[in-house]
Symmetry: C2
DNA sequence: CTATTTAATTCGAGGGTCGAAAAAAATAGT
DNA sequence: ACTATTTTTTTCGACCCTCGAATTAAATAG
């Protein structure tokens, strides 16, 4: 809106449109692309023949899986993304775990690698070596030419800078300002970016279930800490300087329970794993949160609740109240939207849901009780999918940009 | 990004660019426009000659107030927006007051009109008649041809739908879902839109002080209730269905003081005028907020505080704590940004600031204490300016759209 | 084997922006 | 007074892009 448009940038934009239509559609004909994008058949023809010439699209021989509109007429020719056009590297750094994958340009995973380690005890260099080494392994076992690697996306539990170069802060390590993107770029000589894992989960859901999560929703991660990925009107929301949307550090009880961040009363200080455990075991709200290395098992808490332990049940309900109250504040800002709850914490959702909905009751829109809330216990596939997706989207943009020679 | 671009839409976008460059610049030459927008001299020449032919730009005879780069060379020809190209109507509906103005296409106010009335006692029809009548008066006294009126912008204290057609809810009247835009359109046969006053103040500040408020900031209105206008990365933030950003109804104390909205613990229930008064006079937090018609004078509260009344001072400090805590939550979502406090409530800012800053202390970014906070006591000029601005921006877009015949 | 139907490509027409050259309008210098 | 210089603005042709219409391609129905 605020920048000049030149003729060649028109083609640039429309190339991107075609590329993403094919990526979404899987196997689509040129006519389908025209219908989806609104471009004329002539233009689609011109753009696709460019993209095929450049090797980004192919006409797979295994043919017309595209159903014809009717039996008659010239059959549609299916186009698809060329899996061999590029490789991307995906690296996921979680509490006590590093994993990596090599994904082809169609989004299919070619090879994987993973290691358990004690993330809190690693030096800066060890972190670098662990991430680089894990991707190197995946790359070696992929059987692909390493020169096809075009881009690397890194997922971390923690706060990144908004440009995706640094890990600024993380619960899984005491180090700060780690230049993860720079490390990966140096090691593999391709561009790299770092993203917050909650953002990536949200991206994955946004792609996976567009009817429910296509425009506006939040994914809230309940595990070590409370994170959020927020989509509004189809765009992911980030902070002005950081990855932002730290739902867990909105204030629930001013001056209340001690949070891992050092402040008091954060949502996380009631709904984070350590907070629920602290309350379930009857410890003081002032009890300092455990060290990052201490993995807390939600099953233990779930077992207590199932056994009818009132303190555990109350702890979980308070977590729900914190989350629900946070949502009320969020909804006051931008109105209500569906929620995806993700992670181990969702195994106690049954005890949590009533207090979430009670907090939402009578919220601004007047319809707090029928907010869509769905649970996803295992976050790993979502993170991996979102991570690959992010790199592919950026790659598509670069390809759309590529000047025709 | 997600929609086809055609050649004629390129011109459309660049026409808009030129138009807004001239609107911003006041008196600018074609070369200046080229420099500002990035368009080539050839294109600027083509577009400006179109816009001059269509009557939207003029070359004022009162000449070269544009300073030449050096003495030598062909002098710059100043261009400016043609004030006579259009008129817009501005209508402002506040507690017990309706005002209207006629503004020309350059943004200069031509005539005004205002009436005191008891907004809470008006029927739906009386509201319509008051708004229509007030603008009609301004229009009559403008001495301009009414047919030049192109668009009407209405400002209201309250919540609108996101498309700007309805007043959904307001503290100043018990009526709901008032089709204000429709009423104005019917009465004057031109398009109309309704906006939340806090959004308009934010727009005015955004234009008026771009160095501080050009990209990201919030304007918080402290008067009857607590409203907010929020800019992030240069865009105003609204709700998904409503005008949104109801800062005053984020939760400060779950289950706490009774708010006018019927819920408990909202920021407004501590920082709204009625809430500060309630606390200053030692009334219960459960005391129902007064009726909309009851205008509460902040001077009374300020006087008490100046006289050293501890209850009043504490009430104001609590208001500051509520605002500061709300900002912490907001900053957790999108990082910190400057704040403009607007309205009568700012006359007690001195008592409020320490508790705001204390709440911000140690907030996510780690630098809560050096947040820019500035006060603007009188909101009226900001609302009027923002209201006119909004209509002019939309008008500019329509003009940019206008197909060349 | 022909008519019909649908898909994809080709070919101007039309609209845009841009760079280079030309024209316009002033000052500086002799 | 006249010419050279400088800066702004317009004009002109080259090039890019999308689109509609016509054409070509490739199948089925009868």
């Amino acid at each position: 809106m605020t920048v000049v448009i030149r003729s060649n940038e028109v083609r640039r934009g429309n190339r991107g449109l075609v590329l993403s239509a094919v990526r979404m559609g899987g196997l689509v004909s040129r006519t389908d692309i025209g219908r989806k994008t609104g471009l004329s058949a002539a233009t689609v023809s011109a753009i696709t023949s460019d993209l095929i010439a450049d090797g980004f699209l192919i006409q797979p021989a295994d043919a017309n899986q595209v159903p014809a509109s009717s039996g008659r007429g010239r059959p549609k020719v299916a186009l698809s993304v060329n899996p061999m056009a590029a490789l991307i590297g995906v690296v996921i750094f979680q509490l006590n775990r590093v994993s990596a994958a090599v994904v082809d340009y169609s989004g299919a995973t070619i090879s994987e690698s993973a290691h358990e380690l004690s993330s809190a005890d690693l030096s800066r260099e060890s972190i670098r070596d662990a991430l680089v080494g894990c991707l190197r392994e995946a790359l070696n076992s992929s059987g692909q030419n390493e020169r096809l690697l075009m881009r690397i996306a890194v997922s971390i539990q923690g706060v990144t800078d908004v440009s995706g170069k640094y890990l600024l802060w993380s619960p899984i390590t005491d180090h700060r300002d780690l230049p993860l993107a720079g490390w990966m770029r140096q090691a593999f000589s391709v561009p790299a970016s770092v993203s917050n894992d909650c953002d990536l989960m949200a991206r994955a859901l946004n792609r996976r279930e567009p009817e429910l999560y296509g425009t506006s929703f939040a994914s809230i991660m309940l595990s070590y800490g409370v994170g959020m990925g927020l989509f509004l009107r189809g765009n992911i929301i980030n902070g002005l300087n950081t990855s932002g949307t730290e739902f867990g550090h909105m204030v629930f009880q001013p001056g209340g329970a001690l949070c891992r961040c050092g402040r008091r009363g954060c949502i996380e200080a009631y709904a984070g794993d350590y907070a629920i455990q602290r309350a379930a075991l009857g410890r003081s709200e002032d009890a300092p949160p455990p060290a990052p290395s201490a993995h807390i098992d939600f099953k233990q808490i779930a077992d207590l609740a199932h056994a009818g332990d009132p303190q555990a049940i109350h702890a979980i309900e308070e977590a729900g109240r914190a989350i629900g109250t946070g949502l009320v504040s969020l909804f006051a800002l931008v109105d209500a939207f569906p929620i995806a709850l993700i992670g181990q914490g969702t195994i106690v959702f049954d005890y949590m849901e009533p207090s979430i909905r009670k907090a939402l009751q009578g919220a601004v829109a007047g319809e707090g009780t029928n907010i869509d809330i769905h649970c996803f216990v295992d976050e790993k596939p979502l993170v991996a999918e979102g991570c690959a997706l992010t790199a592919l989207v950026v790659l598509d943009e670069e390809i759309a940009d590529a000047a025709v020679i």
